[in-house]
């Protein structure tokens, strides 16, 4: 979908979320802990939210949130983010966006 594409390509680290989604919040906290300030797009606060939700489902997001993109690339949901971090592969992906490091 255009909007998903647009948002994910215009921002380094993107989390599609909902204002009430606590797992999305957890991912947000993790990124902050790693020195990154992600762009959080709350789809329930977006008039086109339903469209975005459908698009994310089509991409394979079951939640459909959180849906994480880094450098325009689809990363996945909480599972994928956690797995990447445990294996040490998340920080390298975030490196361009860590201002303090």
């Amino acid at each position: 979908m255009d909007k998903v594409q647009k948002i994910s390509s215009e921002n380094g680290v993107v989390i599609f979320s909902k204002s009430t989604c606590c797992l999305s919040y957890a991912v947000h906290i993790l990124f902050q802990e790693l020195g990154v300030i992600p762009y959080v797009h709350e789809i329930d606060r977006d008039p086109e939210g339903k469209e975005i939700e459908k698009a994310l489902s089509r991409m394979g997001f079951n939640g459909p949130v959180p849906a994480v993109f880094i450098s325009g690339t689809l990363i996945g949901s909480t599972n994928e983010v956690m797995s990447l971090h445990l294996s040490g592969s998340l920080i390298p992906l975030l490196q361009p966006y860590r201002p303090l490091n």
């Binding site: 989604c21 606590c22 797992l23 957890a26 993790l30 790693l34 599972n79 971090h85 294996s87 040490g88």
Partner: protein, 348 residues
């Protein structure tokens, strides 16, 4: 003599004079505790002897004597009936004890009996357990028994010099066994996430260390690492990185849980003290509870990933020692729970 006054009861049927205390209590000892002057054999002509204590009997009016003898017979009869009742009570208590012991063993096998005391918490918790939870309880009981067996096998394998293939086999089974547990927990979370999160299925000491429905993986790593030595520098670096990443992931999940906690409390408390019923708030809260399943699954995902990652960092001997250490750690916690449950209590 242990009674203050006694009466002799000539008993033609029994051939022995019973000793009956005035208080009427049947005392087994009374039968046996008899000095020769107290036991008499019935003589065919009905007279009694020796006569040292009973010289005066012949001097009393006959009807009084007869009345006293009848009273004695009555007292003895009642005493025998009391004894019979008491013995019957003992017998049925014994049967009840056997019955209870069997019930206990059955419950223990089904995993309902943990830590040395019946886990009434489960009944108190929901009254009726869902079939999914009943299945989980049974499965978990069997899982623990299997884990205990594996601990024994692993210990033997490490002590023997049978080589790497055997160790590899036991490490693989050990890993698979944990994966089985995560699968069981996923099903249980769908059935009743509150139950899983409460840790009711674990012993009390294990519950103490509980974090979102299980152990905190970074804590387990901290416990294990010293027992994995010697580690190469590279291994130590990798393991420490894993522990740190795990801790960060756990913290993020914990904060997510805190937020959910807050949201649910706010939803339930919305409109407290207002007029009208609170069903809409509860309906809203029910919806808000759904993410709990995702959180528990996420926590288990973290545990599973950590386990798999560490097994890749370690060589086979270290992995075997790690699995053994983990198994023993859980055994000790369960034993601690039993010990705790049977500790001497202060009287209320």
């Amino acid at each position: 003599m242990n009674s203050t006054s006694t009466q002799f009861v000539p008993s033609r049927r029994m051939g022995i004079y019973e000793m009956v205390g005035v208080s009427g209590n049947f005392k087994e000892n009374d039968y046996l505790d008899s000095s020769p002057s107290m036991i008499f054999e019935d003589t065919s002509d009905g007279t009694v002897g020796p006569s040292n204590k009973y010289d005066h009997v012949a001097r009393k009016p006959a009807d009084k004597v007869l009345r006293r003898l009848a009273q004695n017979r009555e007292a003895a009869r009642k005493s025998r009936l009391r004894k019979k009742a008491y013995v019957q009570k003992l017998e049925s208590s014994k049967l009840r004890l056997i019955e209870l012991t069997q019930e206990l063993q059955r419950a223990r096998r089904q995993g309902l009996y943990k830590g040395g005391e019946l886990d009434y918490g489960l009944q108190g918790y929901s009254g009726i357990t869902s079939p999914g939870i009943a299945t989980f309880e049974t499965g978990y009981g069997q899982w623990v028994e299997e884990q205990n067996r594996q601990v024994v096998e692993l210990r033997k394998a490490l002590q023997s010099s049978n080589g790497v293939t055997e160790l590899q086999f036991f490490v693989n089974s050990g890993m698979r066994h944990y994966l089985d547990l995560f699968n069981m927990k996923a099903a249980a979370a769908k059935a009743d996430v509150f139950y899983l999160m409460s840790g009711m299925w674990k012993t009390s000491a294990e519950r103490y260390f509980s974090w979102i429905g299980g152990f905190r993986p970074s804590e387990l790593l901290k416990v294990l690492i010293p027992h994995l030595e010697p580690l190469s520098d590279e291994q130590r670096w990798e393991v420490n990185n894993l522990r740190q990443s795990c801790q960060q992931a756990e913290d993020a999940l914990s904060q997510g849980m805190d937020k959910l906690h807050q949201i649910i409390a706010e939803t339930v408390c919305d409109g407290l003290l207002d007029e009208g019923n609170y069903l809409p708030q509860l309906a809203a809260a029910m919806e808000k509870l759904e993410p709990l399943v995702r959180f528990v699954n996420q926590a288990d995902h973290l545990r599973r990933e950590t386990l798999q990652l560490i097994s890749r960092i370690l060589d086979i001997h270290q992995a075997a020692r790690g699995l053994l250490a983990l198994g023993e750690y859980f055994q000790r916690l369960r034993a601690l729970s039993s010990l705790w449950a049977s500790r001497p209590r202060e009287p209320a």
